[in-house]
């Protein structure tokens, strides 16, 4: 089976001319089906940049990057938009739409896909919210939820459309210890049950236990790839 994510020799620079700064150097990385990979490293080492490239949020410059069967080097805007629909994103901030309920927010991830009507979408969004323990909060707006609950809604939104890959960038950074742990464990449990691979950037040493593999970056390079104990 093809790896959901396969990078080789990805190099990336910001800026032009004098200001040009290389932030990724020859990065190669692959994630196997169902694998949960944690990416760590000091601030400024290029983790976020790598994630935006993989998520087709930024144009590639050099190297090969195959995500869910789509080569990203030279891919057009339409292809990249289409690929994003098959990736679940979890950001540091939840970025939920304040004027929608939790259920409607989750359903937004389904509206991009055909095959379901509104009722079915809302039903499935409700089930997903139940799966992250928010069955009783489905019809609340983000402002009525705690930080941890909002991030769980974001997890539900990332997973509801059954993405082929989940990308998360420091999803616990804005949360306290307990809710951070809870969110990450929920995410890894759900993903594992569905066989969804995850690439998760974190600084947080307390959540390393969820990983199949930990990849460390420094100064734009991958310096070490450890298999984590399971």
């Amino acid at each position: 089976m093809e790896a959901p994510l396969d990078l080789s020799n990805v190099t990336f620079s910001y800026g032009d001319g004098e200001l040009r700064r290389q932030v990724l150097k020859d990065v190669s990385l692959s994630v196997a089906p169902g694998e949960i990979v944690l990416l760590t490293g000091p601030s400024g080492s290029g983790k976020t940049t790598l994630l935006t490239l993989i998520g087709a949020l930024r144009g590639m410059q050099e190297g090969k990057c195959r995500v869910l069967g789509q080569e990203l080097l030279g891919a057009g805007e339409a292809d990249r938009v289409r690929l994003r629909r098959r990736i679940g994103f979890i950001f540091q901030n939840h970025n939920l739409l304040g004027f929608l309920t939790a259920r409607q927010n989750v359903a937004m991830a389904l509206e991009l896909h055909g095959g379901l009507n509104d009722t079915a979408r809302l039903k499935r969004a409700g089930e997903m919210l139940a799966a992250v323990g928010l069955a009783d909060h489905a019809d609340k707006r983000p402002s009525q939820l705690s930080g941890g609950q909002r991030q769980r809604v974001a997890v539900a939104r990332a997973l509801v459309a059954e993405p082929g890959l989940v990308l998360a960038d420091e999803p616990t950074a804005a949360l306290d210890r307990a809710s951070g742990q809870e969110v990450v464990h929920l995410l890894s449990d759900l993903a594992r049950r569905r066989g969804t691979p995850i690439l998760l950037v974190t600084h947080d040493p307390r959540i390393l236990d969820i990983a199949d593999r930990i990849v460390a970056m420094e100064d734009g390079r991958i310096i070490q790839a450890d298999a984590a104990g399971h």
């Binding site: 629909r85 950001f91 939920l96 004027f99 937004m108 509206e111 991009l112 055909g114 079915a120």
Partner: protein
């Protein structure tokens, strides 16, 4: 891939079957509109501001068009009510309140055509008339003509012809502005009474129907002889000649023959042509049309700025949410659709109260000024199109702010 534990086995097209068609364009449009509406609805104060802005523009445009229409309608009230078959007018006459004189002899020359049964010179001038109640004077349009000839058929004139042939008598326009006093009521209650026109006392002998115009607040019709008692004018010069044709005469043919027969100091016009020429003067020969156009455009600009501000602030205040939607795979086009959808919703929900308010104001104005303010369907449709275009443009302008929502900045 391991599928156990999925909440629902229904597959999703993009994830599992890339070949299956995506949600239809109509679905997407409906969803974009719904999202736009939910966003608008979430902030009542902002929604109200936007609706008020659209409503304001709508009312302003309706009032401008209403006044313009009423002005042009009322400007032609007098000529419109002079029903005759053909008219002779000086080619340089621009408007009936300031006519160029034509030789009265043209009327008799026109009689040379076998199909012309009657030729009636019409004299027009303005004088002041004293309000019989308050004594105040207002400008009245005085029309002098041979009242016994029935070439000119003013509403209500026929039964008054005998009385009007007496010296110092006149008929007054029932639809004149109320500043002339309750002339109609007084006449209905007490019959004929004396009113001062210019420096002479005249006896009011009846009421007719013409309607005021911007040039004059009311109309007084009298015989040619009585007319000359107010205005000392060369009797050989007249302002307009009304012609009555023999029954069965071909209007177009007579018009062409007369135009060929008469010198070019007169134009031969049908009644609709005469009215159209008068209207064209007000529309094109005066800045009035431009003033109303300017007022309408200002209303639209103000409305557009308000709608733009609201839509722009909505995007600017939710850049990270829009960027998140882009990261989730919502296209720029879809999100542009959401912004335009919001603009269109504002157009619709702003137009409805704007329309109702305008109808109400039309009524108030019609009662207050006696200007005929009607709401023709074309005007309602046209204003809706303008408001729609206004909101759409505001949406197009605000949409550019979406570019600042960059999903790459989200992580």
């Amino acid at each position: 891939m391991d599928h156990i534990g999925r909440p629902d086995p229904v597959p999703l097209s993009d994830a599992d079957h890339p070949a299956r068609p995506r949600a239809g364009a109509m679905d997407a449009l409906g969803l974009a509109l719904r999202l736009a509406w939910r966003q608008l609805r979430s902030d009542r104060a902002r929604l109200m501001t936007a609706v008020a802005g659209v409503m304001f523009a709508c009312v302003l445009v309706f009032m401008q068009l209403g006044f313009k229409g009423a002005l042009f309608d009322s400007a032609t009230n007098l000529l419109n009510s002079m029903r005759a078959d053909l008219f002779l007018m000086h080619p340089m006459t621009e408007a009936s309140f300031r006519p160029e004189h034509i030789p009265r002899a043209r009327a008799w020359q026109a009689l040379a055509d076998a199909d012309v049964a009657q030729a009636v010179p019409i004299y027009m001038a303005q004088a002041s008339m004293r309000n019989p109640e308050s004594g105040r004077r207002r400008t009245v349009q005085v029309i002098g003509l041979d009242v016994t000839a029935n070439a000119v058929r003013f509403e209500g004139l026929a039964p008054l012809t005998a009385a009007l042939t007496r010296p110092d008598t006149f008929a007054f326009d029932n639809r004149s502005r109320p500043e002339f006093g309750p002339v109609g009521e007084m006449f209905a209650a007490h019959g004929p009474f004396r009113v001062q026109i210019g420096t002479r006392m005249f006896e009011l002998v009846g009421m007719i129907d013409i309607g005021p115009s911007f040039g004059a607040d009311g109309n007084a019709v009298m015989s040619e002889v009585n007319f000359r008692r107010i205005f000392s004018r060369d009797p050989a010069q007249t302002d307009l000649v009304a012609l009555r044709l023999r029954p069965g005469a071909d209007l177009g043919a007579v018009q062409a023959r007369l135009q060929a027969l008469l010198p070019d100091d007169v134009l031969v016009l049908t009644h609709p042509e005469l009215v159209a020429a008068e209207r064209a003067y007000w529309e094109n020969g005066t800045p009035i049309g431009f003033i109303f156009l300017f007022g309408s455009v200002m209303g639209l600009v103000v409305g557009m700025v308000i709608v733009y501000q609201i839509l722009f602030a909505d995007i600017a205040g939710h850049l990270s949410e829009y960027a998140t939607l882009k990261a989730m795979g919502y296209s720029n086009l879809y999100l542009s659709g959401v912004v335009l959808g919001a603009a269109i919703i504002l157009a619709v929900i702003g137009f409805i109260p704007g329309f109702v308010t305008s109808l109400f104001l039309y009524d108030v104005v019609a009662k207050g000024t006696f200007l005929p303010l009607g709401m023709p369907v074309e005007r309602a449709v046209g204003v809706f199109a303008l408001i729609f275009g206004m909101c759409f443009t505001a949406g197009l302008l605000a949409m550019r702010k979406l570019r600042d929502a960059n999903p790459a900045d989200m992580f």
